[in-house]
Each structure stands twice: as C-alpha cells, then as structure tokens.
C-alpha cells in the first residue's frame, strides 16, 4: 500500500537462544498515531531499535518511508525523530546547546537552524529556559526538550518509547497535547509505546498489542474493546495478555539505571 509509511513483514529478532521478536507484521499509515503496547519484555523496545536502525533484524522486511533500515541507514535516519525510553540529553549542556548539537548532526543549515530551535523551544514552552543547563530541569522539562529535539530536522515519523514514564498526570496530559497537535498540524506519523492504557485509548488511532514477541491483536481501540467485550483498553489489554506479572531479569541496563539514580539523584 502506498500510503503506509512503516511496513513490517515477518520481522524476527533472535538473541542467541532468545527470540525477542517472533515473526511480526504490521503497517502504519502516513499521519496515523500508532500505539505499540505490551507487557515488559514483550519485544517493544527491540522492535523500535530495529525500526530506527540501531539493531539489525534476524529476518523479515522493513520499509521506513520507502527505505530499508539495514541498507539505507542514513535515509531512514533522516526520516524519523525519536524520544528514547531513557534520557539522552547532555546534562552539562544548556537546552539551546542540546538542540543546536542535534541541528548540526542532522546538517540543518544555520539561519534555518536558529529559527527552528526558537520555534520548537517556544512550542514546548522552554524558550525562557533555553540558557539553563539541562541538569537543573525536571523530568517533565527534559522530556519536552527531547520532544523538541526530535522534531528539529522535521522528521516524517516520530518514535516515542514510553515518553510519559514517571511523569505526573499534568505533564503527561501536556505532552500528549503537544503530540496530538503536531500530528494534526504537521501530519506527522507518531509511533509510541506506553504502559498507560488510557493514554493509548485517548490518542491512538491504531493499536497493536505484542506479547512474548508476537503481535496478538491489532485494530483501533474500539475494535479491541469489542473483540474482548471489555469497557476500557486496559481491560482489553489484560484480557489479551493475561494478568500474570512479567519478571524481567535484571540485566546490565538495570544496574546502570540504579547507578544513575545513585549518582545523579
């Protein structure tokens, strides 16, 4: 289909003996807000890493805005912006410098770079704080800055990996307002993951639920609720994925997260 901006066919990713993503297929239409949901360890982040060129797939075909993330990395990288699950700002630089750095890396030429930085900082309401070091920012401000940064090179697709994790309801609401606004005004395609089902219910036009590496349901929120005969997306999600709590092994990443909390408050 021509108006699909993301096409994934039979994607599989294996790590040694573990199959993190098991033969999944889905499409995201241009201008759509797509929620990719699943319990911890279901394969969400791995899929995002593959779509964003950070990991090569074991098998399967992927097209991001018509380009292959394995063979046409730079083309794909220009086409998307991303907000990672873990913070990826430079704390020792100011808000403005963080954006400027991004602009230089993405080769946005100078007069335009300056204008865009100002527009986006105003958009996320951080223009007044542009000369503050990021380390003094709250979690919500950092997220807003990351959103502004991800948009600086005018991507067609915006990936957000748990963008509202650990934020208060006010900030979460705020962030979804920005994103919906952006989707409406710029027709940008949004691909996000979250554990807050009411967020997905509210903003997503299409939802895919992944569990144990397999996509177990796809459709709009109303369809999923109808399919499971439930009233909310959260109930539908639990009906589909079961109520068992997933234990992830504490890997090196958790160790680092802990260390970061210790040293960076």
């Amino acid at each position: 289909m021509e108006n699909n901006i993301i096409e994934v066919k039979n994607l599989t990713k294996k790590f040694k003996d573990l199959t993190a993503v098991d033969n999944i297929s889905f499409n995201v239409k241009k201008g759509e807000i797509f929620a990719f949901l699943g319990p911890n360890g279901a394969g969400k982040s791995t899929t995002i890493k593959i779509l964003t060129t950070l990991l090569p797939p074991t098998n399967g075909e992927i097209e991001i805005d018509g380009a292959n993330p394995v063979t046409q990395q730079d083309k794909v990288r220009h086409s998307f912006g991303i907000v990672f699950q873990d913070p990826s700002l430079d704390d020792e630089l100011t808000a403005y410098e963080n954006l400027e750095f991004h602009g230089v890396l993405y080769k946005v030429p100078n007069p335009i770079r300056k204008q865009r930085i100002e527009e986006l900082l105003r958009f996320v309401e951080l223009w007044d704080r542009r000369n503050n070091l990021v380390k003094v920012f709250s979690g919500g401000m950092k997220r807003r800055l990351e959103i502004a940064r991800g948009l600086l090179h005018h991507p067609k697709i915006f990936f957000l990996d748990e963008p509202t994790l650990g934020l208060d309801p006010q900030t979460r609401n705020h962030i979804w307002n920005y994103i919906s606004n952006l989707n409406k005004k710029e027709n940008i395609t949004v691909f996000f993951t979250t554990h807050y089902m009411e967020e997905a219910d509210k903003v997503a036009q299409k939802v895919a639920i992944i569990d144990h590496g397999k996509i177990i349901a796809q459709g709009n929120p109303a369809e999923l609720k109808a399919q499971t005969k439930t009233k909310t997306l959260e109930e539908a999600f639990l009906a589909l994925t079961g109520e068992k709590i997933r234990d992830e092994d504490a890997g090196s990443q958790d160790f680092l997260r802990q260390g970061r909390r210790m040293w960076h408050r």
């Binding site: 950070l54 730079d74 230089v104 890396l105 005018h154 307002n177 710029e186 090196s252 160790f255």
Partner: protein, 269 residues
C-alpha cells in the same frame, strides 16, 4: 492549554543536508571542551591526585633519591605525574562511552545520519584536548613547587608528547568501552590496566638498571614512551631516545585509533 495557531514546523522541508562533515567532528570536540570547563569541581578534583603524588613522593623520596646520586627527585617525578594525569583523564574520557551507551548522548548521536567514524574522531580529539589541558595545568602547578624546565624552546615538543599520550589513551578508552557493557568491569580496568600502566611506566623510577623482567615489562608499557618523551623534552634526559618515543607513540596511536573506530562503529545499544 493554548497552542500556537500557526504551523509548528518553521521553514520549508528539504532544506537539510547542506552542512559540512567537518561540523560533526567540530561540534563533538566542542562538547567535550564545554563539559570540561563547566565542571570546575572536576578540574580541581583531578588536580588533587597529581599534587598529592608530587608532594608526598617528591618530597618524601627526594632525600633518598639525592643520596643515591640520582639528582633532584621532583625534577624527575614531574614528567611522570604529568603523564599520569593525562593517562587518567584521557582513558576515562573514552571509558565514559560505557555510561553514555545507556544514559546519555551516545544514543542521540548513534541514530543521527552521520558516519560513526566522525563521531569517534570528534569525541576522541575532544577528550584528548581536555587531557592535554589537564597536563599543562599540572606542569604549570609543578613549577610552583620548584620544577624547572630545562629548555623553553622544547615546549612545542612537550605539547606534542602530551597530545600524543592523550590521543593514544583516549583511543584505548574507546576500545575498552566498545567491548564492555557495564560499569561493573570498571574496577577491573582500574586495577588491571590503569594502575599497572602507570606504575610500570617509569613515571616514578628510572628505567635504567632495573631487573630484566621489570625492564621488559616497562618496555612494552606504552606509557613508558610517553613518560620518556616528556622527560626528554622537559629535562633533556631520555631512556629510549626521543625519536623512538615519538615513533612508538605515533604508530600505536594510529593502530589503537583504527581499532577504536572499527569497534565504535559496531557498538550496539
């Protein structure tokens, strides 16, 4: 919440892609420098250790060194301590990548449409510049406790050696960081790499007249050539000879740089 009515994206699309590659290297280099100058506590903190070594060992062993007929120990020690502070700063600027892999800027740079090679060059040169500055500061401070440079005309050679040591170990740090996944191995690096590199390099003692085994180890310790080069250019005394020092450092720097940029390009997060 009120939202601006006008479009959010300013400017036209398709205006990207006209910047030069030099910019990528430059901005990564600049970032390292900004970070360095902003953390004054880090500058002061990393001066503490070399100063302690200089004062405690310099003045502590000074009399014995003198009695043994080997001259002024402070004079002898300063080049070694400069090399030490460059080694520490440079290696850690590389090792920082481990941290950055998960929680920092590295991710942001790895999804950007720029060659990894350029990221590695910018980062390494930035770390090396900062480490060289650190070495210069130690040199300046040591003149206050009585260190005398034998010939000022050699200062450019001194700087060259400082920078070579810095690039060498920043690249080594990158190699290590690319191979390791978490900071748990950090202590291992300290105990089995950084400390031996320093203690076996002749930074603290003369390399002539050593037991054969120790002498052999010192001659494969890359820092030995850095210390020797600094001592040669600062004091005019050299064990291997300045040309050998320069040759060994240049070749190994190129090799480690190549390995480092290869491994860096293979980093997965």
């Amino acid at each position: 919440m009120k939202m601006p009515d006008r479009r959010i994206f300013y400017g036209r699309d398709g205006e990207c892609g006209t910047g030069k590659t030099m910019n990528t290297i430059y901005i990564l280099w600049l970032r390292q420098l900004k970070r360095y100058f902003r953390s004054r506590s880090r500058i002061l903190g990393s001066l503490g250790q070399p100063l302690l070594y200089l004062v405690a060992m310099g003045f502590g062993f000074g009399p014995i060194f003198q009695k043994a007929g080997a001259g002024n120990y402070i004079q002898f020690l300063v080049p070694g301590i400069i090399a030490m502070s460059i080694l520490f700063t440079a290696l850690f600027s590389g090792v920082e990548i481990i941290w950055d892999k998960q929680f920092g800027f590295l991710k942001e740079t790895l999804v950007a449409p720029v060659p990894r090679f350029e990221i590695m060059i910018g980062r390494t040169l930035g770390g090396a510049t900062v480490s060289t500055l650190q070495g210069v500061i130690v040199l300046v401070v040591s003149t206050f406790i009585g260190f005398k440079i034998s010939s000022l005309s050699m200062l450019s050679v001194v700087l060259l050696f400082m920078f070579l040591i810095a690039v060498l170990f920043a690249a080594l740090g990158t190699v290590i960081a690319s191979l390791l996944d978490d900071m748990q191995e950090f202590q291992l690096i300290m105990n089995f790499l950084v400390m031996p590199l320093f203690f076996l390099s002749g930074a603290l003692f003369p390399l002539s007249g050593l037991p054969t085994a120790l002498s052999a180890v010192a001659s494969i310790d890359l820092l030995s050539y850095g210390v020797d080069g600094l001592r040669g250019s600062l004091l005019g005394i050299s064990h291997f000879g300045l040309h050998i020092d320069l040759l060994v450092l240049t070749i190994t720097t190129l090799i480690l740089f190549t390995i480092g940029s290869y491994l860096f390009s293979k980093i997965k997060i």
